[in-house]
């Protein structure tokens, strides 16, 4: 029953996505240029990895608005450490960034589980604290391309294919997409093929029932928030590697976009519903719409209005769907 409903809501998103692509393509055929599609795909990576974490939190019935702060903290601290120690690595720094995100995620979990406080309030607090610490104590100057570790830049610009357009320009499909896909598969496996994953859905659907069946509430909450933090930390450093600089003011307000994408992908804020495939489609939809405004000859100042309408329409649709199911 649930599976078929989930499958259906993903089909709906996919169809809407396809219709939107056709519409944008009609307004401006340049949308279908390979260069544009490649750059769209590339823009999915960082937001998508963060969305996987937010999805997991939302399925468990919680919400996380602190992850952009964690991501930027992990990125900036790691890059500053690399610059200070003249450290040229790839795996090591990513482990460090992920660990920073994970540790911060554990703080969220401790507050949400230990003190039974509403996740929104907790993560508002930890997000503000981490951002304040980063900008007030660590520093506000950005690490520019000239001081950015070479190893990170090289890693971030790895390409799968390299093509040239008729005008002689060069464009490529970023290899970072593979990382995104691998992460998505991992989270999908966790959610659908492990007892822990079933526990996350169970906690979000009905916490009391989950407890009586024997799912460990503490373990589930800690895993969920630690995972969201770790994914954010990883995505943060990946973002730095892909744009070749580390700006401690990045990701401001990103939480709204990512939450919008996850909700658009069919996850319910009440928990218990959501899937990796839906979330990836939701992320693609949001990135595509906000990146295609220029192509559609609409001023970029409209971006926030468009995102706002997407959030409201998506949430209205989910609440309508959920109400019909109850009736």
């Amino acid at each position: 029953m649930r599976l078929s409903v989930l499958r259906r809501s993903e089909t709906v998103i996919a169809l809407v996505l396809l219709a939107a692509m056709l519409l944008i393509g009609l307004i401006n055929p340049a949308f279908w240029n390979l260069a544009n599609l490649f750059s769209l795909a590339r823009s999915n990576v960082v937001i998508g990895i963060m969305a996987l974490g937010v999805l997991t939190v939302m399925i468990s019935g919680g919400i996380d608005v602190s992850f952009p702060a964690f991501a930027v903290a992990a990125m900036y601290l790691t890059v500053r450490a690399m610059v200070a120690w003249d450290w040229q690595g790839v795996a090591g720094p990513f482990v460090m960034a992920t660990a920073i995100g994970l540790a911060l995620g554990l703080i969220n979990a401790a507050f949400v589980y230990g003190l039974r406080m509403i996740p929104l309030i907790v993560t508002l607090g930890t997000g503000s604290l981490v951002r304040g610490f980063l900008l007030g104590v660590v520093g506000t100057s950005q690490v520019n391309i000239d001081r950015m570790p070479k190893s990170l830049i090289a890693f971030g610009s790895t390409e799968l294919t390299s093509l040239s357009d008729p005008a002689g320009g060069h464009f490529a499909l970023s290899a970072m997409l593979l990382i995104y896909l691998a992460m998505a598969l991992l989270v999908h496996f966790l959610l659908t093929h492990t007892m822990l994953g079933r526990g996350i859905y169970a906690l979000g659907s009905d916490g009391e029932a989950a407890r009586r069946v024997g799912f460990d509430r503490r373990l589930t909450i800690f895993v969920v928030y630690a995972l969201a933090g770790a994914l954010a930390g990883f995505a943060g450093l990946l973002h730095g590697a892909m744009i070749w600089l580390a700006n401690p003011r990045d990701f401001n307000g990103l939480e709204l976009d990512v939450i919008a994408a996850v909700v658009l992908g069919g996850a319910s804020i009440f928990g218990g519903r959501g899937s990796v495939l839906g979330t990836m489609l939701g992320v693609f939809m949001l990135v595509m719409v906000s990146n295609s405004l220029i192509i559609m000859h609409i001023a970029t100042t409209w971006q926030r209005v468009v995102v706002g309408f997407i959030v409201i329409i998506a949430t209205a649709a989910t609440s309508w769907r959920d109400r019909r199911r109850i009736a």
Partner: protein, 330 residues
């Protein structure tokens, strides 16, 4: 009902705790920077800066009473100031004596536009939440984006600068030496306090937050009450927008973004329960006072604004922890 200190504090342990906290902050800041902190100028400036944040916090508290939240207050506040500014500039030009010395009736027109923005914005939230049953967090995140986005589209990015003197008086003026924003704040705070404690609307709202299902079975008109709570919150936010743009003589789509977290913090610190059912104006005022003393003291001690953010975040977490521990002991 006898109004004594003991009764006030006895009724709500949280208020006593807050009063102690305020005193401690006051003593600490006085000790750290005695010559600067106690200057009348410093304390006076708080009476101009605090009211806009206080109004946003009361707006937040009102929506928390029914178990909701309003994350669009900043968007509404900025849009209100901007729409009024566009009206003034269309009426009397972008600068010059014609704008500054505008007739009181025209100034009033702009104020009505600002308030109408708040009522309408709040009504949109109310419909989305009470009627369409969208979760308050997501509904107000979405509508907040639309309000902020509309402000951005209308202005194209830069601030709208230059308001009539009459409008500026609301943000900068003083009556009998008392700051005008403070007077507006106290008036509205008193009004909301009466509304919440002495009318059916306020009591119903708290009951709905305590147990929505029971409230519906008891025959309370849930949809209408929740709807009006968001209209109230939107209107309070637009007044905050009037004060903010009156004080700074400008309005911009991204002013006061950090107020959002601070308003949530003050509401929670002031004893509101985000899950619904609890919250009072007195608590908000006390928490506002504590945090304004803290941030003004930190600014005098030359801490950066980022450090103030850090301390506020830490305060929010600490107050959560304290509340949790206290209820556990009971």
């Amino acid at each position: 009902m006898q109004f004594t200190m003991r009764r006030l504090f006895g009724a709500d342990n949280n208020l006593l705790q807050l009063a102690l906290l305020t005193l401690m902050i006051f003593a600490l800041m006085t000790a750290l920077a005695p010559d600067k902190f106690l200057r009348p100028y410093n304390l006076l400036s708080i009476t101009y800066v605090a009211p806009e944040l206080g109004l946003l916090s009361i707006a937040m508290m009102v929506t928390m009473l029914s178990g909701g939240i309003d994350l669009s207050v900043i968007g509404i506040a900025n849009l209100s100031g901007i729409l009024a500014g566009i009206f003034y500039h269309a009426d009397a030009g972008a600068r010059g004596p014609e704008l500054t010395a505008m007739a009181p009736l025209s100034v009033l027109g702009g104020i009505l536009i600002a308030l109408a923005t708040g009522v309408l914005g709040g009504a949109i939230n109310g419909v989305l939440i009470a009627r369409l049953r969208i979760t308050p967090i997501l509904a107000t995140i979405g509508s907040g984006q639309i309000f902020t986005g509309a402000a951005l589209v209308l202005t194209g990015g830069p601030a709208i600068v230059g308001y009539p003197d009459g409008w500026g008086f609301i943000g900068n003026g003083a009556v009998f030496g008392i700051a005008m924003p403070l007077l507006v704040f106290l008036l509205l705070a008193g009004f909301v306090a009466l509304l919440l404690t002495r009318t059916a609307f306020g009591i119903n709202l708290a009951l709905i937050g305590t147990n929505p299902k029971a409230a519906v079975f008891a025959g309370l008109r849930l949809v209408r009450t929740v709807f009006f709570s968001y209209v109230l919150s939107g209107t309070l936010a637009s007044v905050a927008g009037v004060i903010l743009s009156g004080r700074t003589n400008a309005a911009k789509s991204d002013y006061g973004v950090s107020y959002l977290l601070q308003a949530v913090l003050i509401a929670v610190l002031g004893g509101s329960n985000p899950a619904g059912g609890r919250g009072s104006v007195a608590g908000i005022i006390m928490a506002l006072l504590a945090l304004m003393l803290l941030s003004s003291g930190m600014q005098l001690l030359r801490f950066s604004n980022f450090m103030v953010d850090l301390v506020w975040g830490a305060f929010l977490l600490a107050s959560i922890a304290l509340n949790a521990l206290r209820t556990r002991v009971r």
